[in-house]
């Protein structure tokens, strides 16, 4: 497995974070993304950092694993830091790199912004690390319920998402199979000029589309045979229930907001 794929890859577990209602996780993370932008003092940042670290610890996933998962975004974080260092010209000059002056304000702001960025990404990645894609789909369906009133196809959207999730591994297997078959017929996917490489994709894409259409057709027929007539009158096996632990989490989060208001400069 490529490290780059750890972002968003579900790690099975039984921790309290895993067992939270996915709606709780989504709402909390959504609010967190907003309040991160309200932090503006050392203590307010510290408070947010402690909260995020605590969340990460409660998942019982190895911290090093979570950090490793962020590898692809480290570059962005460092880049942000450097950018502020160069652009911001406030406060005392701390030191010079060659002749270029580095201001204290730049260091402060760079650190603050990168930390904000880091916390954002880490907390969001906790959602996908502890929640299966299908739980996320369920949560979206449930949270979007109010939109049904304005005829937004909430059920259809959720069904489409869950079927896509279901077929991703199948289509990946299929892609591998067809690319091997075409490689055996002399297609070279790995070398050659850009134009040649783009051309090499055609014998792969056409069969994939053909098969995806065939699958879709058969799936639609199977669904119909199994009595699917849209969302009306359907019951659901998957059930989302707010538990005590969810209420507890909302309580803690409310305290965090209050704390943030007090520590703001």
């Amino acid at each position: 497995m490529n490290n780059a794929f750890i972002i968003g890859q579900y790690v099975p577990g039984e921790s309290i974070v895993h067992r939270l209602d996915p709606r709780t996780k989504m709402v909390v993370i959504f609010l967190f993304v907003i309040i991160v932008f309200f932090a503006n003092s050392f203590w307010s940042y510290a408070l947010l950092a402690v909260f995020s670290l605590a969340c990460a610890l409660f998942t019982r996933i190895k911290f090093s694993y979570i950090i490793k998962g962020l590898t692809p975004v480290w570059f962005l974080i460092i880049f942000t830091f450097l950018l502020h260092l160069i652009v911001t010209k406030e406060g005392d000059i701390l030191f010079r790199i060659f002749t270029y002056p580095v201001y204290a304000g730049g260091v402060m702001q760079g650190a603050a912004i990168s930390l904000r960025f880091f916390l954002l990404i880490m907390v969001t990645s906790l959602l996908t690390l502890t929640t299966t894609p299908i739980e996320i789909t369920d949560a979206i369906e449930s949270l979007l319920q109010p939109l049904k009133k304005i005829r937004f196809p909430v059920h259809e959207l959720a069904l489409m998402m869950s079927i896509s999730l279901r077929f991703i591994p199948t289509l990946l297997q299929e892609t591998e199979k067809i690319s091997k078959a075409q490689a055996s017929r002399g297609v070279d996917f790995k070398t050659g000029r850009v134009k040649e490489r783009i051309q090499a994709v055609v014998p792969l894409l056409v069969p994939l589309f053909v098969s995806a259409f065939k699958r879709a057709e058969e799936l639609a027929m199977a669904m119909e045979a199994r009595g699917y007539q849209g969302g009306e009158g359907r019951t659901k096996l998957r059930e989302l229930k707010i538990q005590q632990r969810d209420i507890l989490v909302f309580g803690v989060f409310a305290l965090l907001i209050v704390g943030l208001l007090f520590t703001r400069a």
Binding site: I178, A181, R185, P207, V210
Partner: protein, 289 residues
């Protein structure tokens, strides 16, 4: 081309937590011109094995030799493309690889990739179509409007048009009706003889292995379990049972006859009418068979 495996192993996703050994320490020889059946359950490593024969996979240990080409864990084969032009693979459900607008173009795709001249390609396309017993009028039609069986033949023609010396067939009859299956196997038998191919058939069907192959290799859990002529391998009822494989039906029946009648009836490659004759003699009391 002679094929030989020397202590070949292949591990998927080596050095990761997802490591998975697919074949382990396999050694065998396939002399040029033989018709070999590879039999084993799903997951026994058959597909991994055949992917080594044209360099789709590189062994993680050991050495694979196909004619003068060598595949090892250490060295990447430079003339991979040349090897692929000599070893053709008909994958399971090969009709899934069709993509061109016309049958002719799809058949020509392989030869074109391997740098065959245009004139020669046209000649080969016509020949390949004939070899898979499709009418010439089909060349300008779209492969997607043909029947399932015809599509499969077009895909096979695409592999034949490259004129490989080794032909690998992965479950070539899956999903066909009984007549389609028989026609398809008879076609491969004819091609094997006519073109002097080395044919490797991966199959679940003991019956096909018995009828068409001159050498059988049984695989189990990524290892070679047994090999020999069909007559040697398929009479070993106990050994086959241990890996959950059945003896071909004709041999099963002969065993049952032997339990019931005092006879030394044996499987020696007889056809059903021949067996009927032998049974007639036994039941009439001409015990000496």
């Amino acid at each position: 081309m002679d094929i030989s495996f020397k202590n070949v192993s292949y591990t998927y996703q080596l050095n990761t937590p997802f490591e998975h050994k697919a074949i382990e320490d396999m050694s065998f020889n396939i002399p040029s011109g033989s018709f070999v059946a590879i039999v084993g359950h799903t997951g026994s490593g058959k597909s991994t094995l055949i992917q080594h024969l044209n360099g789709l996979l590189q062994p993680t240990a050991g050495e694979v030799a196909i004619g003068s080409y060598r595949l090892t864990a250490e060295k990447k084969l430079k003339d991979l493309k040349e090897l692929r032009s000599k070893v053709g693979i008909v994958f399971q459900y090969p009709e899934h690889q069709l993509f061109e607008e016309t049958v002719a173009k799809d058949i020509a795709f392989g030869p074109l990739n391997f740098g065959v001249e245009q004139q020669e390609i046209e000649k080969r396309t016509a020949e390949a179509l004939k070899a898979v017993q499709l009418p010439e009028g089909m060349l300008e039609r779209s492969p997607f409007e043909l029947s399932g069986g015809q599509m499969r033949r077009v895909a096979i023609a695409g592999v034949l048009a490259v004129q490989p010396e080794v032909l690998i067939l992965d479950e070539p009859t899956a999903g066909l009706d009984p007549r389609g299956q028989k026609d398809m196997m008879e076609m491969f038998k004819r091609l094997h003889k006519q073109e002097g191919l080395t044919t490797i058939l991966v199959t679940h069907s003991m019956e096909d292995a018995l009828v068409y192959a001159d050498h059988v290799m049984i695989m189990d859990h990524g290892r070679k379990y047994m090999e020999g002529s069909p007559q040697e391998v398929f009479v070993k009822k106990e050994e086959l049972k241990r890996v959950d494989l059945d003896v071909p039906e004709i041999i099963q029946f002969i065993f049952k006859v032997r339990e019931m009648f005092p006879t030394d009836l044996n499987y020696h490659g007889q056809t059903i009418p021949e067996l009927a004759e032998e049974l007639g003699r036994i039941t009439r009391g001409d015990i000496h068979e």
